[in-house]
């Protein structure tokens, strides 16, 4: 659980950390679209280089990120294998019994899993370099125009920040209760699958109970401090869009242009 990196923020002083959360959110959103422009080795290579540059800009150790991504790497490998065996186009390269590997399968497999991998990498880069509060502030600002059509932007942002805020708390609690139940003889890591599924119950019930309790306490605490929703609420942290943000977006624009030229 220590190596888990999803939704985790790692404090550091880097260009990415200092960017405005709004520009980061826009950047990631655009990147997710731009990834689908790539369709040959050259374009995928460009994307890979771009992602690696972003990664090094974040000043977070690549080894740590890779260790944290291990659980999803299985998904990536699975995607690769799926394409490898199920695509039946191009020249037949290899045959062994019912297993047939085609040229197109290798190509498709590599491309699609690389695309998948890049998407995961960039989106985790967002949460690694941005605090949850910044993300929700950024999102609230970006969605601001929707308030005109009575969309509850503030409430949505609040819900998001509360749930993000309590992820670490919940993890700690899970760890604590797992230990308490292990001390009472529950085996969470070994044994037959049936036993392990049964071991979830003594973990989940206490977690649910404490979450409900905590939610109630939080609601009371917020009301006690006079919370009345987003109406007329000012912010302590002001977002500021700087030259850094504009140039990062321009860089992505450049990459997009490059992709458009290079794609086959």
């Amino acid at each position: 659980m220590d190596k888990m990196i999803f939704g985790r923020y790692i404090p550091a002083d880097s260009v990415l950390h200092r960017m405005d959360p709004r520009s980061k959110l826009v950047l990631i959103f655009l990147f997710v679209c731009v990834v689908f422009l790539a369709n040959n080795a050259l374009t995928y290579g460009t994307l890979l280089v771009y992602t690696l540059i972003m990664l090094s800009l974040s000043k977070i150790s690549i080894r740590f990120i890779m260790a944290g991504l291990k659980p999803v790497l299985w998904l990536v490998v699975f995607t690769l294998l799926l394409h490898l065996f199920l695509t039946k186009e191009g020249n037949l390269l290899f045959q062994w019994g019912w297993i047939e590997v085609y040229e197109e399968g290798i190509k498709q497999g590599l491309f699609i899993s690389l695309r998948f991998f890049l998407l995961i990498l960039m989106t985790s880069l967002l949460t690694l370099t941005t605090t949850p509060i910044e993300i929700t502030d950024g999102l609230e600002e970006l969605l601001g125009p929707l308030k005109r059509v009575k969309f509850p932007v503030h409430e949505l942002a609040l819900m998001m920040s509360i749930s993000l805020r309590f992820i670490p708390t919940l993890m700690q609690e899970t760890d604590k209760i797992m230990k308490a139940q292990s001390a009472r003889g529950v085996d969470f890591t070994g044994g037959p699958v049936k036993d392990r599924v049964k071991a979830i119950i003594p973990l989940l019930i206490p977690l649910f109970i404490s979450s409900f309790k905590r939610a109630e306490e939080l609601a009371i605490a917020m009301e006690a401090r006079g919370y009345r929703g987003g109406e007329g609420r000012t912010k302590y942290r002001q977002l500021s869009w700087g030259a850094r943000d504009t140039s990062m977006l321009l860089a992505l624009g450049l990459v997009t242009a490059l992709l458009a030229v290079l794609r086959g």
Partner: protein
């Protein structure tokens, strides 16, 4: 069963940017039948130490010997159930671990995980519920209908019903009222006396440590700052004050008394009775 920690070092989140050294060179010997109190500030490593006592954590270097089991960092540990059956831990706020429909089922949960039959477990539940000072009638209730104090007692009964050789208590009385605190501590103390149950108590309360423990270990910033029996520890309290720790009220009173009258009493008293007797003797001796 003896437990011994030998030069134990523990790092949280080893090999990540969050790596944090929690224990450094911790060596503690806990002989069977000892009552050991572990004292220290929040974050001094107390809770990390006790998780080594039943192999919930493995030391990152050094070793832990629990009975005839040796726990080190490199060995993949199999079958830890035997260890956990013999070392029961009552965690901080143990009422958070309750989950069954009835109190009885929850108390039986531990023993049955360790292979005790259902009827035997129910018998143990009856004994355990009385040990913690509750009525047998409560066994059929839902644990979530009880008061906080009762839930605490039920959770403790759940660990007692495992009938461990060693019991580890992590601030078992935190958040209880003074009467509940005394009842629970007295209960653990009599269990310790009657069955010579090894007891390890993590506490902030110097009074409890002085009153119940025969060994005290003081933790500071992940190290064992000092070890000894209560008289040794409290007769030289300067170091404790430096760490921002206190001494029991009785000792504080004695020090004030000695300073006020300029007469050392010659020994450190740990209970009110002992102190008053010593003072009386001293005064009588003085007036003669």
């Amino acid at each position: 069963m003896d437990i011994s920690l030998q030069e134990v070092e523990y790092k949280y989140s080893a090999n990540t940017p969050f790596e944090r050294l929690a224990l450094v060179d911790v060596s503690i010997d806990i002989k069977a039948g000892t009552f050991l109190a572990i004292i220290g500030h929040t974050g001094s490593g107390k809770s990390t130490v006790i998780q080594h006592l039943n192999a919930l954590l493995k030391p990152t270097s050094g070793k832990v010997v629990i009975g005839d089991r040796v726990i080190t960092s490199d060995k993949k540990q199999k079958n830890l159930k035997e260890v956990r059956k013999r070392v029961g831990i009552v965690f901080q706020f143990p009422e958070h671990q309750l989950f069954e429909e009835t109190v009885e089922k929850d108390i039986c949960f531990g023993p049955m995980n360790f292979g005790v039959s259902e009827s035997e477990a129910k018998e143990r539940a009856k004994v355990a519920i009385r040990q913690v000072g509750l009525q047998e009638g409560i066994l059929q209730k839902s644990p979530f209908d009880l008061s906080g104090g009762q839930m605490r007692r039920v959770a403790i009964a759940g660990v007692l019903a495992m009938q461990p050789d060693v019991i580890v208590l992590d601030e078992p009385t935190a958040g209880l009222d003074p009467r509940g605190r005394k009842e629970i501590m007295d209960m653990f103390y009599s269990l310790h006396k009657e069955r010579s149950l090894s007891t390890i108590l993590v506490t902030h309360s110097m009074e409890d440590a002085a009153l119940y423990a025969d060994q005290i270990a003081i933790m500071h910033q992940g190290r064992v700052y000092r070890k000894g029996n209560p008289t040794e520890i409290f007769s030289d309290p300067e170091g404790l004050f430096e760490l921002g720790l206190d001494v029991p009220e009785v000792v504080r009173f004695q020090r004030k008394f000695e300073a006020e009258f300029g007469q050392p009493l010659g020994k450190t008293c740990l209970t009110i009775e002992e102190l008053s007797e010593t003072i009386v003797k001293h005064m009588q001796g003085g007036t003669k």
